[in-house]
C-alpha cells in the first residue's frame, strides 16, 4: 500500500494519511484496545490503554523480540483521536533512553465515503539529541526496513 506524507521537507515530524475500508468504530477498536493494537503493531502490551497510563510493550517482530518499549498514553477521544509518547526506535538494550525527550504519536480518524481516513503523525524529532539520530541511522542496515516490507506485503 502507499501512504501520503504531507510535509516531506520538515525534519521534526512524520505524517501519514491513508484510507481503510472499515468503519470508524472498527478502526478505533484497533487503536484503543491494547490487545488489538499489539496484534497489528507487532508487540505484546502489559495493560490497557488509559490516558496517563504507562504501558510496556514487548516487540514480537522477528529480530526485535529483545525490545521493550514504553508508551505513555496521552489522550483518547473515542473514534476520533488517540495519542501517546515514546522513544522512537529505542531498540538497543544497551542504551538507556529514559533521559531523552520523547516523540508524540497521534492517530486521527475521519469517516470517508470508502470507510475511514487514518492520519498518523509522529513529531518532536528535532528535540532528539543529534547522537541519537545518528545512532538510529546506524541501525538502518539492521534489517528492520526489509522485515517491515515483507510483513506489509503479507497482510496488505
Amino acid at each position: 500500500m502507499t501512504t501520503a506524507t504531507d510535509h516531506p521537507q520538515t525534519t521534526d515530524r512524520i505524517e501519514k494519511r491513508f484510507e481503510v475500508s472499515a468503519k470508524r468504530s472498527r478502526v478505533w477498536r484497533a487503536l484503543a484496545d491494547a490487545g488489538e493494537f499489539g496484534t497489528w503493531f507487532g508487540m505484546t502490551l502489559d495493560r490497557a490503554f488509559t490516558p496517563g497510563a504507562t504501558v510496556l510493550g514487548h516487540l514480537t517482530l522477528k529480530g526485535y523480540e529483545h525490545v521493550t518499549l514504553e508508551m505513555q498514553i496521552d489522550r483518547m477521544e473515542p473514534e476520533g483521536y488517540f495519542s501517546y509518547r515514546w522513544h522512537p526506535y529505542a531498540v538497543d538494550p544497551k542504551i538507556d533512553y529514559s533521559a531523552e525527550p520523547m516523540t508524540l504519536v497521534e492517530f486521527r480518524l475521519e469517516e470517508s465515503a470508502g470507510g475511514t481516513v487514518v492520519m498518523i503523525t509522529e513529531s518532536g524529532f528535532d528535540k532528539l539529541p543529534s547522537s541519537r539520530r545518528a545512532e538510529a541511522f546506524r541501525m538502518n542496515d539492521g534489517g528492520w526496513t526489509s522485515q517491515s516490507k515483507k510483513l506489509a506485503s503479507h497482510v496488505g
Partner: protein, 112 residues
C-alpha cells in the same frame, strides 16, 4: 557493532551537530536552492557579518556538508549532497516503519 556500522555512526553524528543550528540550516537551504555561492553572496541579506557567515560555513565544511572551492579571489561554497542524504536517512527510516505499520493496521481492520 561492526566496523562499517561504527563508521556510519561516526560519519553521521557531526552532520546532525552541524545542522542543529538555525543559521547553518538556513545557509544549507540557501545553497540547496541557489546552488554554489560566494561568501559575499551568502552574506548579502543574511543579517550577519562576513566573518559570522564564514565561521558557520567552516563548521559546515568540517562536517562535510559543504565544499569550498576557490574561484579567483573568492571562496565559493557548494553543498555536498552525499552528506545531506545521511541526515535525511534517519527520518526516511522512521517513515518507512510507519508505512509498514500503516499497512499492517489496514490489513488488520479490513480482515473482519
Amino acid at each position: 557493532m561492526s566496523a562499517s556500522r561504527g563508521g556510519a555512526l561516526r560519519q553521521a553524528a557531526p552532520v546532525f551537530a552541524a545542522l542543529g543550528d538555525s543559521t547553518r540550516l538556513a545557509l544549507v537551504r540557501r545553497l540547496s536552492t541557489d546552488g554554489p555561492l560566494s561568501i559575499t553572496r551568502l552574506t548579502r541579506g543574511s543579517g550577519m557579518t562576513r566573518q559570522g557567515v564564514t565561521r558557520h560555513l567552516e563548521s559546515l565544511e568540517r562536517a562535510g556538508l559543504v565544499r569550498d572551492t576557490r574561484q579567483g579571489r573568492e571562496h565559493v561554497f557548494s553543498l555536498d549532497l552525499k552528506r545531506v542524504a545521511v541526515a535525511r536517512q534517519y527520518l526516511d527510516h522512521v517513515s518507512a516503519q510507519w508505512d509498514a505499520a500503516a499497512a499492517r493496521l489496514k490489513g488488520f481492520v479490513e480482515a473482519d
